[in-house]
């Protein structure tokens, strides 16, 4: 078996709301290995967002241990986790979160700006390469407000790729897109997966699970299903099957 990127050991996360303790995660354990494309599904209230925050090192568990690339995260302080996120994780958000009035290439450079190992020239080169990988090499100097939703999400994916992360964490990455563009983005994710990237796709949409090679389903803070997907759908095929647009 290949190397485990993520190892969760009996993760619990409680929140104090007033006098009540809310158990968002009630003991979750699983591992995700290098090169997997995993979907984490669950309806609202299932603990999905909490899981995402933990996996993204934005939050630490109340109990249990989380290893990201064999590094124990639970005991890290804020600054250490910031650096860890910067080096190991690429985030893709539902609402893109690009900087306003800023060019694509500058948006993509952003994570590298918080890494002193890169010079300005190296940053620019890596950003251009990442944008090339998501098929936006002709949009390098377009500003974020001059792009369509699909293009913005591609820029966001390029930004997630630019620091060569061990893990890409996508949060409802197609949630704001129309069907066609959503498929286009899924095609991109499948391509990245094919190139060996480890991707976790958090969604509430069961349809999207068909495109990933492993499905984890959460309910009430527990994993209720964790299975390999034997019939991976090709997003490319689905896209081609869509009726041609009239414009």
């Amino acid at each position: 078996m290949s190397k485990a990127i993520i190892r969760l050991e009996n993760i619990k996360r409680n929140f104090q709301v007033g006098d009540e303790t809310v158990h968002a995660l009630r003991g979750v354990s699983f591992s995700i290995y290098e090169g997997e494309f995993v979907s984490i599904m669950g309806s609202s209230g299932s603990g999905k967002s909490t899981m995402l925050n933990l996996l993204g090192c934005l939050d630490t568990p109340t109990e249990g241990e989380y290893y990201l690339d064999n590094v124990a995260v639970s005991s890290m302080n804020k600054n250490e986790r910031s650096t860890l996120r910067n080096r190991k994780i690429g985030f893709v958000f539902q609402s893109y979160n690009l900087l306003a009035k800023t060019t694509a290439v500058e948006n993509v450079e952003l994570p590298l700006q918080y890494n002193p190992d890169y010079t300005g020239k190296e940053r620019r080169e890596k950003a251009i390469k990442a944008l090339d990988a998501v098929g936006l090499s002709d949009r390098l100097y377009h500003k974020s407000n001059q792009m369509s939703g699909g293009q913005m999400q591609r820029v966001a994916i390029a930004r997630a790729l630019v620091n060569d992360p061990v893990l890409i964490l996508a949060d409802e990455a197609t949630g704001n897109l129309d069907t066609r563009t959503a498929y286009e983005i899924m095609v991109l994710f499948q391509e990245l997966h094919a190139k060996g990237r480890t991707i976790i796709f958090v969604t509430h949409n069961p349809e999207l699970a068909a495109f990933t090679n492993r499905n984890i389903v959460l309910r009430d803070g527990k994993v209720i299903k964790d299975s390999a997907n034997d019939h991976i759908e090709s997003a490319k095929k689905m896209l081609d099957a869509l009726p041609k647009q009239e414009d």
């Binding site: 925050n53 993204g56 934005l58 939050d59 804020k78 600054n79 910031s82 650096t83 996120r85 910067n86 080096r87 985030f91 958000f93 979160n97 900087l99 306003a100 009035k101 800023t102 952003l110 994570p111 700006q113 918080y114 890494n115 002193p116 930004r159 620091n163």
Partner: protein, 406 residues
């Protein structure tokens, strides 16, 4: 993240909100410009008063006989005969802080030339008197040492005298005027000085050798006063004490005796007048400082708005690896940039306003380098001080909350 990147990011953020950045800056601009202009006005008036005093001779020392008793009757100082020529010689020869010294005797009377006459007093002095009083010869010459020694009947006249005795614009040099029936040949004229701060006409002046006045006009052997000038304004105090010591020795005064003379300088007058303008300057600077403070509060307010508005951006930056201190410095630099740029514009504007005041209403203006430096410093401090709190708040945001912020 390095400082160059931070400045770039801040500049872009300001550029995205040009109008807002400018309006925020305006508070600082007005503050700095008013500090500089107000200080320039205050210092300008102070300088103009100082220069007027120094035109009168700021390092001038006046020695007069003290008031004293004569047979139980208190005498006015001009009637005292305690100052002698020996005192003048002693001060001239024995002091080390005195640049020039001249005895002074004067007499009032009527000057007559042709059909014109004018009342004025004639002062008997040595040529050094002109240096001490900062007087300059316009036409002709100062009387010579020989003329002093021989008690020559020659004189120098001021512009007011010329105007009244020669109303038709005749050439005064070489003419003979009469003072109390004694003929004086005019050998030179004195350049106009106008009125001084106390409203005295400095051109109503006639100078003659002191020997002439002593022997031919007043028939006295004592002198009425001594004028001297210290080497510089700074040593005036030393010069005064030196003069006092010499005079006490000359007059054979015991340690318990009071001085029978008065030594005074222009410094008392000068310090009185400049303290008034100093208070004025402080008042003006206070008002200007308050406007700078208001500008600073404006920055703080806008930075708060900016932090709130960009909560998602902060969340994003944190999620991709920005540490608290990265966010802190980003917003801090933004605040400093606003105040710094405002400061530069304010300095230019303040300088311009000062120049305008000088050109349009002809007020004396003196832009102080220290006020420029000071307001620059205050600006930067304002930026840090008022930018710190909002920046700190931004850096302490929880990335999870910030990303979800609508």
């Amino acid at each position: 993240m390095n400082i160059g990147n931070l400045i770039k990011i801040s500049l872009r953020a300001l550029n995205n909100n040009k109008m807002r950045a400018f309006l925020t800056m305006l508070g600082i601009i007005i503050g700095v410009a008013s500090v500089i202009t107000m200080l320039a006005v205050g210092q300008g008036s102070k300088k103009s008063i100082q220069s007027q005093i120094s035109q009168m001779g700021s390092n001038m020392i006046m020695i007069q006989p003290g008031t004293g008793m004569m047979g139980g009757v208190r005498q006015s100082s001009s009637d005292m005969q305690s100052l002698k020529l020996e005192d003048y010689y002693a001060i001239r020869d024995k002091t080390s802080y005195i640049a020039a010294v001249s005895p002074s005797v004067s007499s009032g009377g009527q000057f007559i030339y042709g059909g014109n006459n004018y009342p004025a007093s004639i002062s008997g002095v040595t040529p050094e008197y002109l240096d001490i009083r900062k007087l300059e010869v316009d036409e002709g010459n100062v009387f010579s040492r020989q003329q002093v020694a021989s008690a020559a009947k020659v004189c120098l006249v001021g512009q007011t005298i010329i105007k009244n005795l020669f109303p038709n614009g005749e050439e005064p040099v070489g003419k003979v005027i009469r003072f109390n029936k004694i003929p004086f040949t005019i050998i030179g004229t004195i350049k106009a000085k106008g009125y001084n701060t106390m409203g005295m006409d400095q051109d109503n002046i006639v100078l003659a050798p002191y020997t002439t006045i002593q022997k031919r006009v007043l028939a006295i052997t004592y002198i009425q006063g001594i004028f001297a000038s210290a080497l510089s304004e700074n040593v005036t105090e030393k010069a005064i004490s030196e003069v006092s010591t010499i005079l006490r020795t000359n007059h054979k005064l015991k340690a318990s005796d009071q001085d029978d003379f008065n030594v005074r300088s222009q410094q008392e007058l000068s310090s009185m007048l400049t303290s008034t303008t100093d208070i004025l300057t402080i008042l003006l600077a206070c008002i200007a400082g308050i406007s700078l403070l208001v500008g600073g509060i404006g920055i703080m307010n806008i930075m708060y708005v900016s932090v709130t508005e960009r909560t998602r951006e902060i969340g994003l930056r944190m999620s991709i690896g920005a540490k608290g201190r990265d966010i802190l410095s980003q917003f801090l630099i933004e605040a400093i940039l606003i105040s710094f740029t405002g400061g530069i514009i304010g300095i230019i504007l303040g300088g311009g306003a000062s120049l305008l005041i000088k050109l349009v209403i002809h007020w004396p203006i003196s832009v102080q380098p220290y006020s420029v430096f000071l307001s620059f410093l205050v600006c930067t401090i304002t930026g840090v001080f008022f930018g710190w709190y909002p920046a700190k708040k931004a850096s302490q945001l929880d990335p999870i909350e910030a990303l979800r912020y609508e």
